[in-house]
Subunit: 450 residues, 2 copies
């Protein structure tokens, strides 16, 4: 029979076990962090009813949507009625609207699932990737204090992830909108365009952004474009940034609201215990999405600015306007873990870690199999993840296996040891071997694996 | 703006947070059990390249396949080139064949992911559901001892799941095939049909199964049909069952091989520490799939036989013949958790559990917000999952929220307590309140949440 070449679908991340374990540890760390801050798990189906999923946008989003259809449906020429989710926000909106009466508000949920986009396949672009989201959804209102909780979660999670120094950047879109209004940039479409260009201040030189602001579709004067960037380009500690904003003398009410919110977030952050070394107010941050209406966040790894933001989000005025008449304001953040993991791999930060398997009971003498099984059962009962080598193989091959698999401890027992009531424990990393009484093996290994 | 009715796609399981937590606990228990026995995690993409996924079967499987296609692909009239996996076995075969050179054998993997089937939507039938699989894959050979390890894992996991008494049933298909050969049932297609009917002995009366064996497509004589069931219908302790089989005087070599394997598995099970109360040899178990070639398993909840098998699997001769020229024998089991969870819900066994949130810091006085934030940070640093109530609300409403959300402990501090350096802890289940020194709060709660 001819063999079909096995191949992973393009645009997906598939890992070997030891790499998968490293990935899984990051997922677990994020989940533990989210739970530590009192967020509740939900999961939604990978696909949604197409009409529900695509009720909003059309355009760019729709082009990237993967539709789902069974063989029968295709044969009958039906239009696909299911589509894979492209983010976790639309499913959240649908979930909250559908289950509104059964949820307690403010509703704090975390959701760690894969999402799907019909991207053109290229390096670092994924058609399937993990998003790790938290959101707090209020009913009618949601105090600004929740905006300060998000950086506290980011700080906790990225500290635990231990992927090097990082800085949380945040801003308030109302400040930007108010500034524009005060400069006579009134058209909402033009404002949105200006925000989108201002967002590029981190990546492009100032003159280039001025050009963009004076260019087609926006058409600011040189003077106004410069003022925009003077106002927004300010960088300094939070207290100075707030003073700079107060000193601008802008009378716009939206600006005042944004400044009050930003001031409150800055004050609360200290009470939340987030050290100022790990965050800054960055007036150039706008986030591309028009969806956000207040506080916005981006997070950068200090040593890897090229990775872009590794954790972003913001405040929005109404989560589920498409699906519910209730007003549901919220604030949330998202970690795109697949993309982050890929970037960390490229930067050489992610390594194969130790295996989840902590001990290998080797097979020295097939006649002692019943003892090996009993030892394995004892170790497992003591909470040690244990593999028993059930296949006869030369000791050297068994050690090579433990080594390749990243298993730290090998347990060895031959007839002499059995007679003496001892067992040998070999540390595959350090190489040293210890003889321990059989009766103490589980306790000794427990101590060793911590 | 008109509102679109939010609705979960039919044939999927979506849970409210407290129910999701109960589900998540079961997933975590299964994963921990699989890791305890030394299985390594892998994850594969939700979709596979359609040609690779569907290279084998056609027919029934293909009808249930969900194809995936982006908008662009549909517009251009392309045939879909991606399809959602319908189980975890085909992706495992593809994974092992593709990464063969990088894997250490025997390769022990667990995989806990969702699979997709284009089922007609009806109660208890799922289009998306979790499978929790383990498999051990050998290169060229895999000793029968691994067949005995599977019941050990099932025993451990179902004991930990604590869903009531259960019994692992197993058999060896070689015994059945050998018996049929000895009775002159030589045609492989007829054998497969006989096995399929014998599989119904648990559900149908003996006479009905005799009728089926004499019926169209099989056509055994009354005598042969009766002999088949005499041989297979035997029930008793393992030692007696093995004696019954030895006493049949069947000379067929496949039968002898199966009996030797079964004898070895039974002997090894004791050494693996699986009590005989929790397993039996059941000669009527055949498993529908032609895929299995040796030991086969089914697991039943003693109090809920109507649920059918909740954990099944078996030994197969070659995992990846479609994708690799290597011979890769294996043995594995699968828990269909979504279906099991649904059945447990229907039987009233699954309840909303306690929240993952262990403590709620209530907001008694907004002026003390900085204290509440500091208390929250202390509790989180002590490893306690803590929500801080950042929204001002009447104490009664805050307690009602904690109660509805299943949060066990509420932390309360007013101005008097602040002055006295104390905090009140309220147990939302027992209802009792304790005043504790602020400095001891974290330690006290740590002890309470265990």
């Amino acid at each position: 029979m001819s063999v079909i070449t096995p191949r992973t679908p393009p645009g997906t991340m598939e890992l070997l076990p030891r790499r998968q374990i490293a990935f899984q540890r990051m997922l677990d760390t994020i989940r533990r962090g989210y739970e530590r801050f009192g967020f509740l798990p939900i999961e939604t189906p990978a696909f949604e009813v197409a009409d529900v999923l695509l009720s909003k946008s059309g355009g760019e989003t729709e082009k990237q949507v993967y539709f789902v259809q069974s063989t029968g449906g295709i044969e009958q020429g039906h239009k696909p009625d299911l589509a894979l989710r492209f983010d976790l926000t639309v499913p959240l909106a649908r979930y909250v609207a559908e289950h509104e009466r059964d949820l307690a508000f403010p509703f704090r949920r975390y959701q760690i699932q894969r999402v799907y986009r019909g991207e053109r396949a290229q390096k670092g672009r994924y058609r399937e990737f993990y998003q790790c989201d938290i959101d707090v959804i209020g009913k009618d209102t949601l105090p600004v204090a929740y905006d300060a909780e998000m950086p506290a979660v980011i700080y906790h999670v990225f500290t635990e992830l231990a992927v090097g120094p990082f800085q949380i950047n945040f801003n308030n879109r109302k400040i930007l909108l108010g500034l524009f209004a005060s400069l006579g940039i009134a058209d909402p479409d033009v404002r949105a365009l200006v925000l989108r260009q201002v967002d590029k201040l981190d990546k492009l030189p100032r003159e280039k952004v001025v050009d963009l602001l004076m260019g087609e579709g926006i058409g600011l004067s040189t003077d106004t474009a410069s003022r925009v960037l003077d106002m927004i380009g300010f960088a300094g500690p939070a207290a100075q940034t707030l003073a700079h904003l107060r000193g601008l003398g802008v009378q716009d009410p939206t600006f005042a609201e944004g400044l009050a919110e930003l001031t409150e977030v800055v004050a609360a952050l200290k009470a939340f215990g987030v050290p100022e070394t790990h965050w800054r107010v960055n007036l150039a941050i706008a986030r591309g999405l028009d969806y956000y209406t207040g506080t916005v966040y981006e997070t950068f790894l200090t040593d890897h600015p090229g990775m872009g933001s590794v954790c972003s989000g913001g405040r929005y005025e109404n989560l589920a306007g498409l699906y519910s008449k209730s007003r549901l304001p919220g604030v949330g953040i998202s970690i795109g873990l697949t993309r982050l993991f890929y970037a960390l791999e490229q930067a050489g930060i992610v390594q194969d870690g130790p295996s989840t398997v902590q001990a290998l009971v080797t097979q020295f003498d097939p006649a002692l199999m019943a003892d090996y099984l009993a030892i394995g059962a004892e170790l497992r009962a003591a909470g040690i993840n244990t593999e028993i080598q059930l296949e006869p193989a030369k000791p050297k091959k068994q050690f090579a296996y433990a080594d390749k698999a990243g298993i730290r401890f090998a347990v060895i027992m031959g007839p002499d040891e059995k007679a003496a009531g001892t067992v040998t424990v070999k540390d595959m990393v350090g190489g040293e071997q210890h003889s321990v009484p059989r009766s103490e093996l589980a306790a000794r290994l427990q101590a060793l694996v911590g």
